[in-house]
Symmetry: C2
Subunit: 159 residues, 2 copies
DNA sequence: GCTCCAATTGCAAACGATTTGCAATTGGCG
DNA sequence: CGCCAATTGCAAATCGTTTGCAATTGGAGC
């Protein structure tokens, strides 16, 4: 049994629906399906992955529109792993989603990094430069255990 | 006199040319112009900004091709501020370019953050998850001094 | 200097992610 | 059950970036 890689893996669906409706929005078929897909995955998902998981129950454009909506509603958070596609995670009520990830450069496997010890750094950076409301975006990249042995180029991973 | 915002603002042009030629590459007109533009700016520049600065002396496709080349030669480093366009900085010889930025969310002004105190964090993250060769990507975002007074939405910036 | 050719360029078309216009569909309130 | 604003599917548009190809050019060798 592998350890669960992502927190927020189990959220109550009726509760999600309720949260959604509270913002005076129609809970349509496609939207429900997207929320289910987001909950299933738990970790960061691309719009295209959601689209594939929906198997025709929803158009790709609708996925994008829904992600925007959910983002402004504060129900999902967007992450950027620098590969040109957005990723989203469903948030628990009250969670602002601020956390970081460790991404394998070979297989793109993602591990959640618990907690963030940088709020004091934000303050220092703000202070030192006269900025206000400073936040940060931080992701880690490396080679995961699985990918360390079977190297794609024959050389071994060190360090 | 405003303080200089970017390090590596002055690099010797002949020396840059020499570094370039050492890798057995043709130092063409477009490439020379691009290197000059990169040196002029000092801080992170988008391909389109370089293209504009070149005023017809070089095609946009050539800018992109040159950035790839310079990147693989280790003469520029790519940064990602999450707005969908790449930025590049010319590097001093021997510099790996690892550093971070503070970007204004209103005017997109960029301030360099000196140094990086996270190599021990990289190690901890690697250790804790069985990953190897862990690095990170980190940028800060906030509201710069200039943008704090004249607020775009009438509310004042706090915190 | 002049020749020659692989390296490089400009141009236009292709790309992949994301956005948008619009006519057809639908959730949820009355 | 009917209505209508909200939502959707579809196709076309957009944006940053990449690529094919024929024309151009730097610089090594004479
Ligand atoms: Mn996560
Ligand atoms: Mn910089
Ligand atoms: Zn953080
Ligand atoms: Zn760093």
């Amino acid at each position: 049994m592998k350890p669960r890689k992502h927190r927020r893996a189990r959220l109550d669906l009726p509760r999600i629906a309720e949260r959604f409706r509270k913002k005076a929005r129609k809970l349509t078929g496609p939207r429900r399906a997207i929320l289910v897909a987001l909950r299933e995955r738990g970790g960061p998902v691309t719009p295209r992955e959601i689209f594939r998981a929906l198997e025709g129950r929803c158009d790709l454009a609708t996925v994008y529109r829904s992600m925007h909506l959910l983002e402004t509603m504060g129900m999902v958070k967007r992450y950027d792993f620098g590969d040109g596609q957005a990723r989203f995670e469903l948030l628990e009520e009250g969670d602002d989603g601020h956390h970081h990830h460790l991404v394998c450069r070979r297989c793109a496997d993602v591990v959640e990094i618990e907690g963030c010890l940088m709020s004091d750094v934000d303050r220092q950076v703000a202070e030192a430069n006269g900025f206000k409301a400073v936040t940060h975006r931080l992701e880690f990249f490396g080679i995961c255990p699985e990918c360390q042995g079977s190297d794609s180029r024959g050389e071994n991973v060190t360090d």
